[in-house]
Amino acid sequence: MQEKELIPYLYRTEFRKITAVLCRLFGIEHITIAEDIVGDTFLLAAETWGLKGIPANPAAWLYVVAKNKARDFLKRNTIFNEKVSPEVQYSAGESHEIEVDLSPTNINDSQLQMMFAICYPGIPPESQIGLSLRILCSFSIDEIADAFLTNKETINKRLYRAKEKLKQDKVKIEMPSGSEISDRIETVLTTLYLLFNEGYYSASRNTVLTKDLCLEAMRLTHMLTENKNTDKPEVNALLALMCFHASRFEARIDKNGELILYEDQDISLWNKELIKQGECYLNRAAKGDLISRYHLEAAIAYWHTAERDSPEKWEKVLSLYNRLLMVEYSPIAALNRTYALAKVYGNKAAIIEAEKLGLDHSHLYHILLGELYATVDTQKAIRHFTAASKLTKTSADRNVIRKKIDKLKK
């Protein structure tokens, strides 16, 4: 690998590892310093390697430099603390040889602990996702801004506020105890779920980046299944759900980055390997009494990987949406349930149900009614698609809707 490709590659894989270890070593109040040290290390690598050539073991080189910088910081920080706070002077006599442990085990533990620290309910979900992308996934601020379709300043402010809040609330970087894990893991799973969705449903045109978001969410969820304390049924269910969705990566976007609807996809492009992995995680999820929303969503996604439109499939999907809605209402689930209802009981029955959903403000609601009326009442169908087009915010959606209206007018 050439230096030009090597550094971005190492940045992606190593930035997060070193940063997590340093964060854990320094404590939650010094996240930014940990980031800066690792950032400086990469800057130095770019300068030095450009002049002297790439070292024999580039990752090890980065570790040594980062370790030295971390030790320098800790020494300076100790001296500073000792000057201002006399109570720590007792420890001054002790040796200050600080161990910066960059072993695979400690990297892994640090990343898991940082995951729990960042997925802290006291900061808003979009900040949890942003911080996860930065600290756990090595995303640059530019990339995060691109993924959220906003600018660098907004992201910097958001991350700054989140770090301040973590500091204020003295969030500890540690593994929650056995009984605490079940509660805390819910927040972690919500963040990972949103992180995946951010990539999967992103309006960003940068398809490589949005796919990376999904893959990172999967990598982090996979990390949880590898640890015996966090290898819970609902974690496996979430990973199964991600695998099933991800299996359609290649089939759902065309060459121009336009979304291809599920029913128009080329099945041969579905990734069989990921479907198989999803099934494997779904089996591992079938333990214990708890049926989480991830179990139900993964089961729905599983049926969508099966061949299309068998009566059994839609009966199962409808029943799963019924159960999902009982666990947790969401407008999307309500709309999807109605679509499944149409597949089982016909469009007329579904229209009666759909018109009681009370979601007139949603463009998806009008798309659904447009679809349901398409074979029943063309004029009404066109009216709903037109309403949807006015409500949607993305041009990609408007394109899809326009095609549907054109088809009806033929």
Partner: protein
Amino acid sequence: MNEFAMIFRNDFHPEAKYSPDEMQEIMKQWQAWMGGMAAKGQLANSGTRLGGDGKTVKPSAVVTNGPYAEIKEIITGVIVVKAGNIDAAAEIAKGCPILNFGGNVEVRDIIPMGAN
């Protein structure tokens, strides 16, 4: 929107057993009804199903088996729904599958916590 409790009652026939297929059909109807309410944002609390085992505790620590000493009906479950008024709630109850299986639904208003 106000909240109303729906109390489900059915004849108590411990000897009556449904076949697995019939059970599945009953479950399917319940899920469809509950899912339909949930989709419309009418389900405040999916409540709880009650089994046939029970004990009734009376003053002087008298404990009798079963909740159903003199009655033929038992309560089989409770949910909480959201509706504009009690008539609207009763309208929703008309779709309850228990009506197809010899049971009935009692709709009651809920007194908010803290009210006298």
